[in-house]
């Protein structure tokens, strides 16, 4: 007997451009997908099954097939426990979905277009009924290993409403560890083995991987996390939230409250990029590497990162300094219609944004949504392309040549140097703030790079406030004129 298919059609066009966001670089256009009223699409994960089929898993535990050509929706799987990530092996046709209790492979054995076999790949982590114990992922490296991240438990009885989860809170922080490996990232090997991988995560809602198997995750501002952050995942690394030490083999049975904040600071690896809370992000989602090689505009190789609360898209440029990743973050497009938590590039190079606004509030106000950002293929917007650290200051790279006079004037580059405090309290203000103006600015021959000279200090954040007078050679305005560079290390 053939199971009943649920098919919904929307419009002839899968997505349409309506009102455009306030901050939108020239050449980009935002389209909104009309979602049938029968579907609640709190997006948890997205992946392309084939060139026209976008698979979307949801917080509601459903997996939908969306035809990006004709706008048809078809249910692929359901009944999952809060599915927050998808990975598709397009060669084998295997669909992997991350749900709270396990990583699951979905198989359509009778080829009716709907999954009927739900196979547990791995469930090696602990889980209680604490609402904050999210499971995020997966990404997969070139060797076939999967990676995911595990949220800490909401353990402070004052917020959790019960003391049953009050375990492994360190220095009176709010989040703790009520089950095994909360606050860890994990690897699942091709043989299906669970390997605790790195630790110290708080609320690691987004995980991404680049073409060289470098894995990054984003974390939310909170206890032991100064502001929103992007971290480079390396095996055995400690990223900062100490509750996860509870499951570290060398610390089992030890009183984590007897270890000082200063000692934890020495143990931790600083985030690759600090993302200023309130100014740029409040709850970042999935970092997506632009692998379109220019189809999505001039930012190939950078990370496109959405934020759930602020409903914006940001760009992150990473570089290695003294062997470690660090770099720049700048706003890209804002605001979209609701919280941007997931993203995926389509085969045509357009960027699909998976959205949810339920539960925390999002700029834009919608409960959920799906939008698509396209580049027109020809217009180069005037923008900060990226900022690089040099031995004597910074190089500010623009997408277009700057005006010779205003571009070379140091007064148009106002900098703020500051740091954050690593502490068990919720978030951190900016401290040790110092205003700086470059001692000199020299433009490259093509006037696309401004070489800034200024004194540098390691473990600082440099905020670049470009003056409105700074324009392109043709007088074009820079859409997003504030950028932040995290200088954990200096060139040796």
């Amino acid at each position: 007997m053939k199971p009943i298919q649920i098919l919904f059609a929307t419009l002839a066009l899968a997505s349409v451009a309506t009102a455009q966001p306030r901050n939108l670089p020239a050449g980009y256009i935002v389209e909104t997908v009309n979602i049938p009223k029968e579907i609640t699409l709190g997006v948890g994960g997205m992946a392309f099954m084939d060139n026209n089929t976008l698979l979307i898993c949801t917080r509601e535990g459903e997996v939908w097939k969306f035809n990006t050509q004709d706008g048809q929706w078809e249910l692929y799987a359901d009944g999952l426990h809060e599915s927050l990530g998808l990975w598709i092996d397009r060669k084998k046709g295997d669909v992997y979905v991350m749900q709270r209790p396990e990583l699951t492979r979905l198989v359509d054995t009778n080829k009716d277009g709907k999954a009927d076999l739900y196979q547990t790949v791995n469930a090696g982590w602990g889980l209680t009924d604490n609402y904050h114990e999210y499971t995020f992922g997966p990404v997969r490296d070139s060797k076939g290993n999967f990676y995911g991240t595990l949220n800490t438990s909401l353990s402070w009885p004052g917020w959790a409403g019960s003391d049953k989860w009050d375990k492994a809170r360190v220095h009176d922080s709010k989040m703790g560890r009520a089950a095994k490996y909360r606050g860890w990232s994990f690897q699942i090997t091709p043989q299906g083995k669970f390997v605790p991988y790195s630790m110290g995560m708080r609320s690691p809602a987004g995980i991404g991987i680049n073409g060289q198997d470098d894995i990054f995750y984003t974390d939310n501002q909170g206890d032991w996390n100064e502001t929103s952050t992007l971290h480079h995942v390396v095996k055995d690394r400690f990223h900062g939230h100490p509750s996860s030490y509870y499951d570290h083999p060398k610390y089992i049975g030890k009183d984590l409250n007897k270890i000082s904040i200063e000692e934890y600071r020495k143990l931790r690896t600083r985030p690759s990029v600090f993302i200023p809370h309130g100014e740029l992000a409040n709850s970042p989602g999935e970092p997506v590497f632009d692998t379109t090689q220019g189809k999505f505009g001039p930012f190939a190789g950078q990370i496109i990162l959405g934020d759930q609360t602020r409903s914006n898209l940001m760009r992150i440029h990473l570089e290695k300094v003294d062997g470690e990743f660090q770099g720049m973050v700048v706003n890209f497009i804002s605001p979209l219609q609701t919280g941007c938590i997931r993203g995926v590039f389509g085969p045509d190079g357009s960027f699909w944004v998976g959205q949810t606004g339920r539960g925390w509030g999002s700029v834009g106000g919608k409960q959920f949504g799906l939008e698509r950002v396209r580049w027109d293929g020809s217009t180069t917007p005037m923008a900060i392309h990226h900022i690089s650290l040099t031995k004597t200051g910074f190089d500010v790279h623009f997408t277009l040549p700057v005006d010779a006079e205003t571009g070379a004037d140091p007064a148009n580059y106002n900098l703020l140097e500051y740091e954050y405090q690593y502490r068990p309290q919720y978030g951190s203000p900016k401290s040790q703030q110092k205003k700086l103006v470059p001692t000199s600015v020299k433009l490259s021959k093509d006037r696309k790079v401004a070489h800034l000279t200024l004194p540098l200090t390691a473990e600082k954040v440099y905020q670049f406030n470009l003056n409105d007078k700074l324009r392109s050679y043709a007088g074009a305005n820079i859409v997003n004129r504030v950028a932040w560079y995290t200088a954990n290390r200096l060139h040796k």
Partner: protein
């Protein structure tokens, strides 16, 4: 297959369409009763007529299944007893239209074939009161039910019945119609890795993917997932029916192996897979209806398949909670454990009917 068999039986029986009995005259009340497609429900679950009135009921079957209509006196207990008796008609089932000979039956229809109608003519009882009606086809009696009020004020009685009908109070109810539903969710006082399953016929169960065993069942509506889908979510979903115990004592025991969950198939009723040590187990769980103390009750049937067990396999349960029957193996004296040889364990069933 099965419905084809029923069809042929029915046609060879050469049934005539019911006509009003001689001298019945013109009905005082005519009611058309429909069926809800795929939901195993009558479209009206409350009816009312005046005492002693002449009634014509037209049962209009819009389903692809067979249905009948049987009116009973003596409350829902009598209804369930009569429904149980209908299951025991055996070879007589189709000839008798699944209607047993029983003094509690006030009126009954013939079987309505898919897409067809049948009529019933009867004189309402003189005694005022609520009379339950039911479809007594196998498996239908749990959800295809209703109440006919006999009252001097039929309109008032109908209002009363409609108001008293149990409402599903839920923020976001998942309701089972003609195919099983499965939802993994947090449920109060249940394991974090719970799998909730709702089967057509109004039986539901909760399976724990950590210990690989059914924890309990419930009859009635399935699950309110509102607590997980409203606001931030992550709160406990609510079972919507009446909980019953299944005598749960953990997974099948095969040596000293610890059970590890491996997933499930959703072709038809969910079939759950797990491993105990190196031995693979599959457990298909279906609705089981049977008689407990003469009353038709709903429970669960487990069909286990154990591949290549080296030694014996044991199924444990708490016999104080359930009436259990097994297709193979040997129960111990107090019926707390069923032991099977490796060969017997290849495929066997256990049926459970709750005592509560």
């Amino acid at each position: 297959m099965r419905s084809a068999f029923l069809f042929s039986l029915l046609f060879t029986a050469g049934l005539a369409v019911a006509k009003p009995p001689a001298g019945f005259g013109t009905p005082d009340t005519e009611i058309t009763l429909g069926t809800k497609h795929g939901q195993m429900r009558f479209d009206q679950e409350a009816l009312a007529v005046a005492p002693g009135s002449k009634v014509k009921i037209t049962l209009k079957n819009t389903c692809e299944m067979l249905h009948n209509w049987v009116l009973v006196k003596g409350g829902t207990g009598e209804r369930d007893r009569v429904s149980g008796k209908a299951l025991q008609l055996g070879a007589q089932s189709m000839v008798k239209h699944f209607v047993p000979d029983d003094p509690a039956i006030v009126a009954s229809s013939q079987i309505a074939m898919p897409g067809k109608t049948v009529e019933v003519y009867f004189v309402a009882p003189k005694e005022e009161g609520d009379y339950p009606y039911v479809c007594t086809l196998p498996g239908h009696a749990f959800t295809m039910v209703g109440t006919l009020a006999v009252s001097k004020n039929p309109k008032g009685a109908l209002n009363r019945l409609n108001k008293a009908r149990p409402q599903v109070r839920a923020q976001w109810p998942l309701l089972v119609t003609n195919k099983p539903l499965l939802q993994r969710a947090f449920v109060h006082n249940s394991p974090a890795r719970s799998i909730c399953v709702g089967l057509p016929g109004g039986v539901n169960y909760l399976f724990d993917a950590e210990t690989c065993a059914v924890q309990y069942g419930w009859t009635g509506a399935f699950l309110d997932v509102g607590p997980d889908r409203k606001g931030r979510g992550g709160r406990h979903c609510k079972i919507l029916g009446q909980r019953f115990e299944v005598g749960a004592q953990g997974a099948l025991q095969v040596g000293n192996g610890k059970p590890v969950f491996e997933g499930y198939s959703r072709l038809g009723s969910p079939e759950l897979f797990y491993r105990v040590g190196d031995v693979r187990v599959s457990q298909l769980i279906t609705l089981h209806a049977g008689l407990a103390g003469g009353i038709l009750k709903r429970g669960l049937q487990y069909t286990f398949k154990v591949a290549d067990a080296k030694g014996t396999v044991t199924f444990k349960l708490n016999p104080e909670q359930v009436l259990a029957e097994a297709s193979a193996g040997k129960w111990n004296a107090d019926k707390t454990a069923l032991t099977l040889s490796a060969k017997e364990a290849g495929e066997f069933t256990v049926t459970l009917l709750p005592k509560n």
